[in-house]
């Protein structure tokens, strides 16, 4: 049942997209309702899977998968006939359709399944042209987003990862603002170029994994690659760089964020919501799911660099926010700042930081998604997002003011709301991290101050002060009311409830999340930290004049391999087998 539900979750939106495309012209007005129905079904399915998670973890351990489906998809290579009939791949490449949700991916899937129906519902009045296509692309995008989180095969992940680009390209390019073409192209090229490099890294990693495991079949299996031992630290550093190219652009990390303000600003509301709420998480999720466990030494090696970029993003993004005049752009820049927090927590390499980081993904999705919705509702009425042209709307739109305020407060990490929990844990982790260190925490904490500065600036400009409205507005021709309509309240209310709920009871997520992180990621990365410490300890004598090795690179490699030998014995006897081959393989590989 679970497997069926998960596959429905992935494939139903795609099927629905096709159906909507094929709707006859006279039935075009059923498209919104039909897609909303599909979206609600997705939400129910996701929640059902979510409810199954604790039981699954209880019986099958912290890494338990819900809805595990594993079947062959593509296989290229020589096959051998099995004695009992059938064939088996003996060498070549095997791609599998392997999907399943664990405690790390499930919160993000639920978030996606929540934001999709909301963004469908928020388009009812905003989208008036080519509606069938619009909803079809939106649903196709959903398939990509859920697939990314569900994929348990690295190549399948990549397929879904790229699949999200195309629908969004059209969503921005067709239904966006005045600069939509440019924004869409920039978005597409930016992210595509990055992910091509990631693809090269993925292929290299899979090939090396097959070599290291004495396996003649190249597999992209997630578990296999995340438990791989024996990559040299140089390889890991390069592989991390390859992951970085794709994921850092997606996150986006400073200074690769310049596609984001434009794309967010030009996209239709639903696009912005999904872009901020879900698609940015593809980058952070990629780092967490792939970069950290697959190349842990690389991640540790680059951790301070990543932390530095995250910090730069936090401060840079926040200061940029403060001077924006376009409120949508302001919220977009706030994402740069917020995702910086997320990355900071992740690369603190502490359990509390990783857990906070995942929470941050969810919380940012909720609050920033909500903020985009609110801004979209303002835009629908006033046709402007210019902070200088708006003002004092609290009196005109008290309900909107309430929601805007709530989500802004959530965004600036007010305790009691969801943002605080993740922000606090992330900063605590950065501060206490051995990899990053105090100053990362201190500088990161300036973000809580700057966050308040820019967010209250935006809130104050729009809601407070004397009433300012552009001439001939609000435009109520599409059946809107001055204040929010019941439909709009229904869109924002669930988010508001979650914002409070997750602030008071974050354990709804962390109780299942923490053990899963511990089992799958923390253990791996902490081993790497240990190794890094060991290397640092050994490097000290190596730097003395008695050692006449000409290249430091060699020294580093040698210690690395040394370490691999001792490491297998002392820390992780289970994987001793794969380590035994590693030094030789590493040499051969070079």
């Amino acid at each position: 049942m679970e497997a069926l539900a998960l596959n429905l979750l992935i494939l139903l939106p795609l099927a629905a997209a096709v159906v909507i495309c094929l709707l006859p012209e006279r039935r075009a007005d059923t498209a919104p309702k039909l897609s909303l129905g599909v979206g609600l079904v997705l939400l129910i399915l996701a929640l059902a899977l979510w409810l199954r998670l604790p039981a699954a973890q209880h019986t099958r351990g912290p890494s338990a998968l819900v809805g595990d489906t594993d079947c062959a998809w593509l296989a290229i290579g020589d096959r051998a006939r099995l004695p009992e009939g059938g064939t088996i791949l003996v060498n070549g490449v095997e791609l599998r359709y392997h999907v399943g949700l664990d405690a790390i991916s499930l919160p993000l899937v639920v978030l996606t399944a929540l934001l999709v129906p909301l963004s469908i519902a928020c388009s009812f009045t905003a989208i008036r042209t080519r509606t069938r296509e619009y909803y079809a692309w939106l649903l196709a995008l959903t398939t990509g987003m859920i697939g990314v989180f569900a994929a348990r095969d690295l190549l399948l992940f990549y397929v879904f990862f790229e699949l999200t680009l195309v629908p969004l390209y059209f969503l921005i390019g067709i239904w966006g603002g005045p600069q939509r073409r440019y924004a869409a192209t920039k978005f597409f090229l930016y992210t595509f170029v990055g992910s091509v490099i990631t693809f090269a890294g993925i292929v290299y990693l899979a090939i090396r994994a097959a070599v290291l495991n004495f396996d003649s079949v190249i597999s992209f299996d997630l578990n296999l690659l995340s438990t791989l031992h024996g990559l040299t630290s140089t390889e890991q550093a390069w592989l991390f760089f390859a992951f970085f190219c794709g994921f850092a652009i997606k996150v986006p990390l400073f200074p690769l964020h310049t596609w984001l303000p434009l794309a967010h600003t030009e996209a239709p509301t639903a696009g912005s919501v999904l872009l901020a709420g879900v698609l940015l998480k593809l980058g952070t999720y990629g780092f967490l799911r792939f970069a950290l466990p697959m190349v842990p030494d690389g991640a540790v090696h680059w951790a301070t660099f990543m932390g530095g970029l995250a910090l730069a993003g936090i401060i840079y993004g926040a200061l940029c926010c403060w001077v924006q005049r376009d409120v949508k752009k302001l919220v977009a820049y706030s994402s740069v700042s917020h995702l910086g927090f997320c990355m900071l927590g992740m690369f603190s390499i502490l359990p509390v930081g990783l857990s906070g980081s995942v929470l941050y993904m969810v919380n940012h999705g909720l609050s920033t998604g909500a903020l985009f919705l609110v801004v979209g509702m303002v835009y629908e009425r006033y046709h402007t997002r210019d902070l200088d042209q708006l003002g004092g709307l609290a009196r005109q739109m008290p309900i909107l003011a309430f929601f805007f305020m709530l989500f802004a407060l959530s965004s600036i990490g007010l305790p009691g709301l969801n943002g605080f929990v993740s922000e606090f844990t992330v900063l605590l982790a950065a501060f206490n991290s051995d990899v990053l260190g105090r100053w990362y925490g201190v500088l990161g904490a300036t973000g809580i101050l700057l966050g308040a500065v820019y967010m209250l600036y935006a809130v104050g400009q729009i809601l407070f002060g004397p009433l300012k409205e552009p001439p001939q507005t609000p435009d109520l021709s599409t059946g809107l009311k001055r204040d929010l309509t019941p439909r709009e309240i229904a869109i924002l209310a669930p988010l508001a409830v979650l914002v409070v709920l997750l602030g008071v009871a974050p354990r709804l997520i962390t109780d299942t999340l923490d053990p899963a992180l511990q089992a799958q990621i923390v253990a791996r990365v902490q081993e790497a930290t240990q190794r890094a410490d060991d290397i640092a300890l050994r490097k000290a004598p190596a730097n003395e004049p008695t050692n006449d090795k000409p290249e430091t690179e060699n020294v580093k490699l040698e210690t690395d391999q040394d370490r691999a030998g001792t490491f297998a014995g002392s820390y992780s006897p289970v994987f001793g087998f794969s380590f035994a081959g590693s030094p030789a393989e590493a040499d051969g590989g070079r």
Binding site: L428, F431, N432, F464
Partner: protein
């Protein structure tokens, strides 16, 4: 020596007391529900009034229920034999950090809130819990927080209406926010760990933001609200770092101090292990935590938000200044006495900042015309007195002053509100005078309030302020003198305000329609607070005939101090020959009042001080230009940096990207010459290509 009484228990279950903050919240939510149901505004105050009153009832019961002092009588006798304050503090500090020998504080854990994960391979799960802490300090704080708040809320029923008794616009919103405010403050005081404290801390900041900005269409109100929140966040930044640092020191290393099963940020845990930290560690934590207190209690140099906060409705000012919000900083430092008490450096910093702040803001208060602003500066100045007390190791005296201050400052603000109410919102002292006969009730209650603030003998402010002045003298004569002088200045500016408002001939602003005394629902709260302003001080003294007692029947150090003993190390009993100081400070207060009478008794239309003091007065009037300095030193540079960054984003970074993109673009530009549809070119290319291929073929020799 054993210092402790038996393990303490309460009559009512702690569960019940733990609900104390929730009643106002419930009230606020109910108001929200009423708004959603579109009920008429005029009755929407009831849920909040009842909720806050329920809290107040619980707080009074808790105060009576908690066993007051567990400090050993022998130790008190020992102290009475004459040891210095610092020595006493040292002894009690030893008791306090002794851990096991101390009675377990009463705590009630509601649930585990945030997981801090497995911090080490030892798998000790740490939590941040929602737990509450009950001791004497909590009881004293809750007592005035909830009771004064209740009075203010009742007053607001009358205040937030127009002349026809119709509710003002936003009436429901106002009461919902008041409920939220009391909830936040009660949570702050009751919390049993630093994170819940931080939650209350931020939430009172939020409530002040919402309430200061209550008249949000006024740009000044919106700006003041933002300023309050952001200046507070500057302090909170330090406060958060203090919490991080504390966590770091307590959990770092292979063998962390915090043991399995202990939540690292609970007061109980922190105070247990704080003695094991290095002095520099304690000082770091103390100084960072102090930043938070500077912001919340509006102390120099983060005092700038409080005067602007006057943009809110007057009951809000009363709430912020008296019962909630600004007292939080004092409370926090008193609560963290085990941390601060162990760091002489931090105490000295607090002392110096307190002295500076007291003088600076008292002088500012002496040169203002806005009644509410005068009161605002006096609040900062009084809080600075408390800071001095904290810096002199007498946190219980500081809390005592918070306690008495709450009553008379609430009274003064509500009195000012009554004046505003009568004059249709005019509050500028230059525009009216002689209201004595127009507002007789207000005048009488204000007089008591002013006397209490001025430190008139036998009123509540006198007892608590005297303790602080005394402690300052014991610490250092200069500190004592500064404080004494400031006390005189306090009396002076307070009565300057009083005389300008109520004395002289009757003058009314033109735009004030028919001035009138406030309705009963406002007057009764004023009188209740007046009772507090007179008698609240007697909770902190003992009646004792003869011997060393003031006027022969009163001795400092009373019931409240017994309550505070265990939570705040310190015994502000007067040493030998301390009583003469009480007479001196009484004289100083009278002198200040007398001087004010001489200069402002007839409410002159032009300020004699402005002429007499010239430039100095203008400096005071301009608040030492702090706002302008901060604007130029911090706000503008940061904003300009933001502009630079934003421009960098649009041109610089994007420019780099365009350069990268220009490579394939220029390549394609070069190559597009080859495919312009000229057949000769294509033919040529083909021939060359084939030739090259053939050549390669030959060379490789396939």
């Amino acid at each position: 020596m054993t210092l402790l009484a038996d393990a303490t228990t309460t009559i009512l279950p702690l569960r019940l007391y733990a609900t104390l903050p929730l009643w106002p919240l419930l009230g606020a939510l109910l108001v929200g529900l009423l708004v959603v149901l579109r009920r008429k505004a005029s009755a929407t105050h009831w849920p909040v009034v009842l909720g806050v009153a329920a809290s107040a009832t619980l707080a009074i019961v808790l105060f009576l229920d908690l066993p007051k002092s567990t400090t050993n009588a022998a130790l008190q006798e020992h102290w009475k034999s004459g040891v210095s304050a610092s020595q006493r503090a040292g002894e009690l500090y030893a008791v306090f950090t002794g851990g096991a020998s101390r009675a377990p504080a009463l705590t009630y854990t509601l649930y585990n809130w945030i997981s801090l994960g497995d911090q080490s391979s030892l798998c000790n799960q740490h939590w941040l819990a929602v737990n509450f802490y009950f001791d004497g300090l909590t009881a004293v704080m809750l007592l005035f927080v909830t009771v004064v708040s209740t009075i203010i809320v009742v007053y607001s029923i009358g205040y937030m209406r127009d002349h026809h008794g119709q509710p003002e616009r936003g009436y429901e919103r106002f009461f919902a926010f008041l409920g939220l405010f009391v909830f936040s403050m009660a949570t702050l005081v009751l919390s049993g760990n630093f994170i819940l404290l931080y939650l209350g801390w931020e939430l009172v900041g939020l409530c002040s933001y919402l309430l200061i900005g209550f008249y949000y269409p006024r740009p000044a109100a919106a700006a003041a609200a933002k300023k309050a929140f952001i200046v507070n966040r500057i302090g909170d930044f330090g406060f958060a770092l203090g919490i991080f640092t504390l966590y770091w020191f307590l959990t770092a290393g292979a063998d962390p101090l915090v043991q399995h099963g202990e939540n690292p940020l609970d007061y109980a845990t922190v105070f247990k292990y704080v003695g094991a930290l290095e002095p520099w560690q304690i000082t770091t934590v103390a100084l960072l935590l102090m930043c938070g207190a500077l912001g919340k209690s509006a102390q120099f140099p983060l005092h700038v938000w409080l005067p602007d906060a006057m943009e809110g409705p007057t009951p809000v000012s009363a709430l912020i200044h008296a019962a909630t919000m600004v007292t939080a900083g004092i409370y926090m430092i008193a609560r963290c006495t085990p941390i601060f008490g162990a760091s002489p450096l931090a105490l000295n910093v607090i002392l110096v900042l307190g002295l500076l702040g007291a003088v600076l803001t008292a002088t500012m208060a002496a040169a203002q015309y806005d009644m509410k602003r005068i009161l605002a500066y006096s609040t900062i100045s009084q809080l600075a007195f408390m800071f001095v007390g904290l810096g002199c190791r007498v946190p219980d005296s500081a809390v005592f002053h918070v306690f008495t201050h709450a009553w008379f400052k609430a009274l003064l603000f509500l009195g000012a509100g009554s004046v505003m109410h009568a004059l249709s919102g005019v509050i500028d002292l230059r525009r009216f005078s002689g209201l004595r006969d127009v507002l007789p009730q207000t005048c009488r209650t204000m007089l008591i309030g002013c006397l209490a603030l001025a430190g008139f003998p036998l009123l509540s402010g006198f007892w608590s302020k005297d303790e602080l002045v005394h402690a300052a003298f014991e610490r250092h004569p200069v500190a004592g003198l500064i404080l004494l002088a400031t006390a005189g200045l306090t009396a002076y500016y307070t009565f300057r305000m009083f005389f300008l408002c109520f004395h002289g001939e009757l003058r009314l602003p033109d735009d004030a329609a028919q001035p009138h005394e406030a309705p009963l629902v406002m007057i009764v709260p004023l009188w209740l607070l007046t009772l507090g302003a007179i008698f609240a001080g007697y909770l902190g003294v003992t009646f004792a005939a003869g011997g060393e007692s003031f006027l022969g029947f009163i001795r400092p150090h009373g019931l409240l101090h017994d309550y505070l003993h265990d939570s705040t190390i310190g015994t502000p009993e007067h040493g030998h020959g301390g009583l003469w100081l009480m007479y001196v400070s009484a004289l100083v207060a009278l002198g200040g009042i007398g001087l004010a009478w001489a200069r402002f008794g007839q409410a002159p239309e032009t300020d004699p001080d402005a002429r007499a003091l010239g430039g100095l007065w203008r400096l005071w009037h301009a608040k030492y230009y702090f706002d302008e300095i901060y604007d130029y030193a911090f706000v503008r540079p940061l904003r300009n940096l933001g502009r630079v960054f934003s421009a960098t984003d649009d041109y610089g970074l994007d420019g780099v990207i365009w350069l990268v993109a220009a490579v394939p673009r220029s390549l394609s530009f070069l190559l597009h010459f080859l495919q312009r549809g000229a057949l000769q070119g294509y033919a040529l290319g083909m021939v060359v290509g084939v030739a090259v291929l053939l050549l390669l073929w030959n060379l490789i020799g396939v």
